[in-house]
Amino acid sequence: MTLLRVEEMSIEFGGVHAIEDLSFVIEPGAIHSIIGPNGAGKTTLFNLITGLYRASRGRIMFEDRDIGGQPPHRLARLGLSRTFQNLQIFFRMTAIENVMVGRHLHESRNVLAHLLRLPAVVRQNQRTSAKARELLDFVGLADDADVAAGAMPYGALKRLEIARALAVEPKMLLLDEPAAGCNPVETQEIDHLIQQIAKTGVTVVLVEHDMRLVMNVSTHILVLDAGRKLAEGSAAEVRANPAVIAAYLGAQGQRELARAQG
């Protein structure tokens, strides 16, 4: 069964066709990368898939169910979770509280019980915070649990977002440029992290401009350009595609890839 199927989807912003007539599928268990020049529509695509934008045409099927027009929190319940290119951290909360919010769907939502602080709520708080601590540990932020998110460095926040997204226990995790602003060593840590996530059975959709990371982890790559599909295939196929080289990789991309392999 395909996990996600996008069919002939389009969206435009005041005349700009951010996504145009795009169709593709994502298989479960994949690390599916989406690359393309700046402004190709990658983030927009994420926004469409996670319900923040509404497509003007086309369909999105998740596990063979049409999810078009569903609000983001419903989609989260179905198993979709993501991080953001422009960080969306809860800055007034501590690191661990950020992750605890990610557990929202796995907690009871009985407001009356919350108000009265029934014993079940206390126990649940403990469970949630234990789980959150586990996830912070997983992304390497165990020591920062009680630090206010506002005081954490950029790189740490990127990982905090990943931990929070994982707390949702998604079937599919969408990462928007997780390695941006990271140096090569930190990028390798992210690389490792992504592979570990994939190992737990979560399908990863990755948008990233760091070609070493992309080529290294992806099982499948979709290349977008100006909202349309430019190419698709395995890392090796995409890398060799002259159109992709011209529109996206350029000399730098190839050089990096060369260094990555050499």
Binding site: T50, G51, L52, P71, P72, H73, A76, R77, S81, R82, F84, Q88, I89, F90, F91, R92, M93, E97, N98, M100, V101, G102, R103, H104, L105, E107, S108, R109, V111, H114, L115, L116, R117, V121, Q124, N125, T128, R164, A165, A167, V168
Partner: protein
């Protein structure tokens, strides 16, 4: 012991202790009166702080809910022969329902747009209360029957002191519970980023509505208490100035600090009593104090003080 050090439990105990000790320190009924008013305002502020301080949704119309609660307690017994206690409960339920109906459309608005919508809501309620003269007595207000519980008529500042003190303690406890719960975390999350909150499964609309209703019910109950306590109400209690006063209490005490809100309520309720020494400069002094506090203690009285103490210690 560890539980004591938690701000929740520790703070609640301190509050309970203050409420228990205060009566022995107050010389006469006037001071009781001021303290009771502080308690009533604090109860509204504790609820409002959930909405403004935690969920980040401004309301410039909460006095409207306060006024509706007060008038429910005045009008229902006087005109429809409903027992006061039932009126109080009916008022709270009615206000809660009203908050759902109003909240649904307006909570989609953001920032200043929400401010203007809630302002409009407050004004509409105020207009209703002052125009429906036959029901509410109009701008001159109306008298309120005494609250009777089990045939016992509640009057005298001492009785009311304990009632209001108990209500405040309970309200604070409920608010603190809520904050340290999934709902509370969702509220704080949507304050910082609605988008991220949604993507993490938080039903933003529902949570905003929930906290709006809770804060409205707090206001309504406080309004009812205030009506029964003072025995006479006018539409001013639902007016814009009162709304502003309430928001100022929240912000002055410290947004997102439940105990801060109580401090804010205490300061702002008691302040005019001290400022009478300035005679005609009373209002100028009040304005100046508001400005100076917000400029130099911008996180609010309690959080700022706490920070300074920390600072000194480290």
């Amino acid at each position: 012991m560890a539980a004591l050090r938690q701000p929740r439990t520790g703070g609640l105990l301190v509050l309970a202790a203050i409420i228990a000790v205060l009566p022995f320190l107050l010389p006469n009924a006037y001071y009781f009166d001021v303290v009771i008013l502080v308690g009533i305002n604090a109860l509204v502020v504790v609820g409002l702080n959930l909405l403004i301080g935690y969920a980040g949704q401004i309301s410039l119309g909460h006095a409207g809910f306060f006024g509706l609660g007060a008038y429910a307690s005045a009008v229902l017994p006087a005109r429809f022969d409903i027992p006061p206690l039932a009126a109080l409960v009916l008022g709270a339920i009615g206000v809660g329902l009203l908050a759902v109906v109003i909240g649904r459309p307006i909570l989609r608005l953001k920032g200043h747009y929400l401010a203007v919508a809630t302002l409009g809501m407050g004004l509409l309620i105020f207009m209703l209360l002052s125009n429906e003269q036959d029901l509410t007595g109009g701008p001159d207000g109306m008298a309120v029957q005494r609250l009777t519980i089990l045939g016992y008529k509640l009057h005298g500042v001492h009785t009311w002191y304990w009632i209001v003190g108990g209500a405040l303690l309970t309200g604070t406890w409920l608010a603190l519970n809520l904050i340290d719960s999934p709902t509370g975390r969702a509220l704080r999350a949507l304050h910082d980023s609605e988008i991220a909150a949604q993507v993490n499964g938080v039903d933003v609309v529902r949570h905003k509505l929930t906290v709006f209703v809770i804060s409205a019910v707090f206001a309504s109950l406080a309004g009812s208490l205030s009506a029964h306590y003072s025995g006479f109400i006018t539409p001013n209690s639902a007016g814009f100035l009162h709304s502003i006063e309430l928001v100022t209490m929240v912000v002055l005490g410290g947004m997102g600090s439940t105990f801060g809100g109580i401090v804010g309520a205490a300061v702002l309720t008691a302040l005019p009593q001290f400022l009478t020494v300035f005679h005609e400069y009373e209002h100028a002094a009040l304005g100046l104090i508001m400005m100076v506090c917000m400029i130099y203690l911008r996180d609010g009285l309690l959080p700022s003080l706490r920070q300074r103490l920390h600072w000194r210690r480290s």
